[in-house]
């Protein structure tokens, strides 16, 4: 297992290396002359030349890349044209809000989706199964931002059960920033009341994001469970007198959730893109809005940062998924080892 993780880690680094080359290409080669772009039309040729030398633009491609990579690894991604601040500073401000929301949505979809999928598959053709299947069709078919608008309208406007937009009410001050996650920072600041309010604010957007995943991943678990349930080895465990609860929770569940975990890795990219629109609906001061603004205002350094963050996240999630699968299904690592 350890060897497998190391190997998989090296692969991820390789992928990120490829991604960085691509990003470098976007950042430095595509826009023409970055020195001219940075200095504007009024600068003289000499000034531009000097900056070019300073930015190593007069060196060969790979040398340029080397210097760029070093600065990126030092957290220097340049300045955002839009916010007029170092891009890294922007990331530190906007990213945690989105990560917190996405992690919370993932948690909801995992707990609710897997429980429902397992129950629905195990009690196949029961009323619960029927209900889950109808809801899950709707859940897969409805875009998250539509769900977001509906939820906001019904629970916040109409029923007044949930707070409106944003992470906290305007009247409430944010706790001192440590992790950027409000739920954690407020607890660290000894303000559980703020935690509760933040949680309430996060509930609707997180549910909006989670529903599609609950539906999709729950359905996969359901059908995989039904499939595995009919396998001879499950019948064999039963016939060999293994305790029914052990057959279910040990021998049936583990092979059943492997396909779901695989899909969850792929679904994560959707979660990111859905977060863009849901954040707009809930006026969530997160990374997505920052990213959209960066795109719209052609803010190159910011765009590079956005792509980099997304790439990193996806690589990380895939690593996590692969390691989880290797843990759940040892045949994966045995096959790769070729023995």
């Amino acid at each position: 297992m350890g060897a497998y993780i190391v190997k998989r880690l090296l692969q991820s680094i390789l992928v990120l290396f490829g991604l960085s080359l691509l990003i470098f290409f976007i950042a430095r080669v595509v826009p023409g002359d970055p020195a001219r772009a940075a200095l504007g039309n009024l600068a003289t040729e000499e000034q531009v030349e000097r900056l070019r030398a300073e930015m190593h633009l007069d060196k060969p491609f790979f040398v340029q890349y080397y210097y760029w990579l070093i600065s990126v690894l030092h957290g220097d991604l340049g300045k955002s044209l839009y916010t007029q601040r170092p891009v890294t500073q922007d990331l530190v401000q906007f990213l945690p809000a989105t990560l917190e929301l996405m992690l919370f949505a993932t948690l909801i979809s995992l707990v609710v989706g897997q429980t429902m999928g397992v129950l629905s598959g195990y009690f196949r053709n029961s009323w619960f199964d029927g209900l889950f299947r109808v809801i899950s069709y709707a859940g897969v078919a409805t875009p998250p931002f539509v769900i977001a608008i509906f939820l906001l309208f019904i629970f916040s406007q109409l029923l007044g059960l949930a707070p409106g937009v944003g992470r906290l009410p305007i009247t409430m001050a944010e706790p001192p920033r440590v992790t950027g996650f409000l739920l954690i920072d407020s607890l660290l600041a000894g303000r559980p009341d703020v935690t509760l309010v933040a949680l309430k604010h996060m509930l609707l957007p997180a549910i909006s994001l989670a529903i599609a995943h609950i539906a999709q991943e729950g359905r996969i678990t359901r059908s995989s469970l039904i499939d595995v349930q009919q396998k001879d080895y499950i019948l064999a465990h039963q016939v060999h007198g293994i305790r029914p609860t052990k057959v279910i929770f040990k021998y049936l569940l583990r092979p059943s959730i492997v396909p779901t975990v695989t899909v969850m890795g792929m679904d994560f990219a959707f979660l990111l893109s859905n977060a863009f629109l849901v954040e707009v609906v809930f006026m969530w001061p997160g990374f997505s809005r920052y990213a959209v603004n960066a795109m719209l205002s052609k803010d190159l350094n910011a765009i590079v940062a956005v792509v980099l963050v997304i790439g990193l996240t996806v690589a990380l999630v895939n690593l996590l998924v692969d390691v989880t699968i290797a843990f759940l299904d040892p045949t994966v690592r045995i096959r790769r080892r070729g023995g």
Binding site: N125, Q229, Q230, K231, D232, Y233, I234, L235, A236, H237, Q238, V239, H240, G241, I242, R243, P244, K246, K250, Y251, R254, P255, V258, L328, D329, P330, T331, I334, R335, G339
Partner: protein, 330 residues
């Protein structure tokens, strides 16, 4: 020589179908069979005739849906398994029944080691008898069961995942799983299909020895008539979801009555999918629209008008389900 032939298992009029996209497959059509205490019974028939379905029904592990049980009883010591609650079925399996499934590639859980799967069987069986075995004792029993099947290096095999084993080794693991605890009834569904002939023979003998030693009853399903001849006392011949003939193995093989059995014996030694057609023209019928009356009538050279109208019952006296042997209708 005579064993105590009190019935351990009695299947009565069992009818099972499968609901599929095209409609209802009427597979088992009211089959009846009996396994005496300590008896070795064979079940023979060409591929698709419903042998595995019969075994799974007896074990109550047919997935429903797609399977539908229309009627009949499976009595284990007089109690109907099909009407037992979950708990009772579990207790019955744990203390009394073992099975070797047909396809060893499918019958082992891919994500757990051989050791995990084997030792859980011993552990839960012991728990059922009120014993608590030490880890060491459980391990010893598992290794012993593997060794009994002729498995090389059983201790190492315990740590392997099924994917690391060859087909033959997996088959041995399946056999070990069935023999790792004492049971009264062993249902062996083609236990040696994946082994080469010499090893097949060796394993079957071993199985035979173990059955003898432990005084188990066995229902042995196989494509090999030679094996049936060697290892069983009584045999059932199955055709298209019906039992067409039953009798003492030796008598039945020297003097087959049913036209299907007669054709079958011509196709010795192997009953593969096509193997049979050299003995009897035609193929096994379609279960969506099975032939009326005697299911064998489209392929039978002795077919009579009544054969298409009335299903011939398996008679107690003759042990054959064919209108040719019913004086009253002929």
């Amino acid at each position: 020589m005579e064993r105590n032939m009190e019935s351990l298992v009695q299947v009565k009029g069992l009818s099972v179908g499968f609901r599929v996209f095209e409609g209802l497959l009427r597979v088992l059509d009211g089959i009846s069979l009996r396994i005496g205490q300590g008896e070795r019974v064979g079940l023979v028939g060409e591929t698709g005739c419903g042998k595995t379905t019969t075994v799974k029904s007896i074990l109550k592990v047919l997935p429903q849906p797609p399977a539908v049980i229309f009627g009949g009883e499976v009595l284990f010591r007089g109690k109907d398994v099909l009407r037992m609650g979950r708990r009772a079925v579990h207790q019955l399996r744990r203390s009394s029944v073992a099975a070797i499934f047909q396809d060893p590639l499918q019958a082992l859980n891919p994500v757990f080691t051989v050791g995990t799967q084997l030792s859980d069987i011993v552990r839960d069986w012991a728990a059922g008898t009120g014993k608590r075995l030490s880890k060491k004792e459980i391990f010893r029993r598992c290794v012993e069961a593997l060794a009994q099947t002729g498995m090389p290096d059983p201790e190492r095999i315990m740590t392997c995942y099924p994917i690391q084993l060859s087909g033959g080794m997996r088959q041995r693991v399946c056999i070990a799983e069935a023999l790792v605890r004492p049971v009264e009834l062993l249902l062996a569904d083609e236990p040696t299909t994946n082994l080469d002939v010499t090893i097949q023979d060796q394993i079957l003998r071993k199985l035979d020895e173990l059955v003898e030693e432990k005084g188990m009853s066995i229902l042995l399903i196989t494509h090999s008539l030679g094996v049936v001849m060697d290892l069983t006392e009584r045999v059932y011949i199955m055709y298209a979801g019906t039992i067409v003939e039953e009798g003492k193995t030796e008598e039945l093989f020297t003097n087959p009555k049913h036209p299907y059995t007669q054709g079958l014996l011509k196709s010795i030694p192997k009953l593969t999918g096509e193997g049979i057609s050299q003995g009897i023209p035609g193929r096994i019928p379609n279960y969506l629209h099975p032939p009326s009356g005697c299911r064998f009538h489209p392929r039978c050279e002795h077919v009579m008008p009544i054969c298409t109208q009335q299903k011939p019952p398996l008679t107690e006296s003759e042990g054959v389900a064919c209108h040719l042997y019913r004086g009253d209708v002929r």
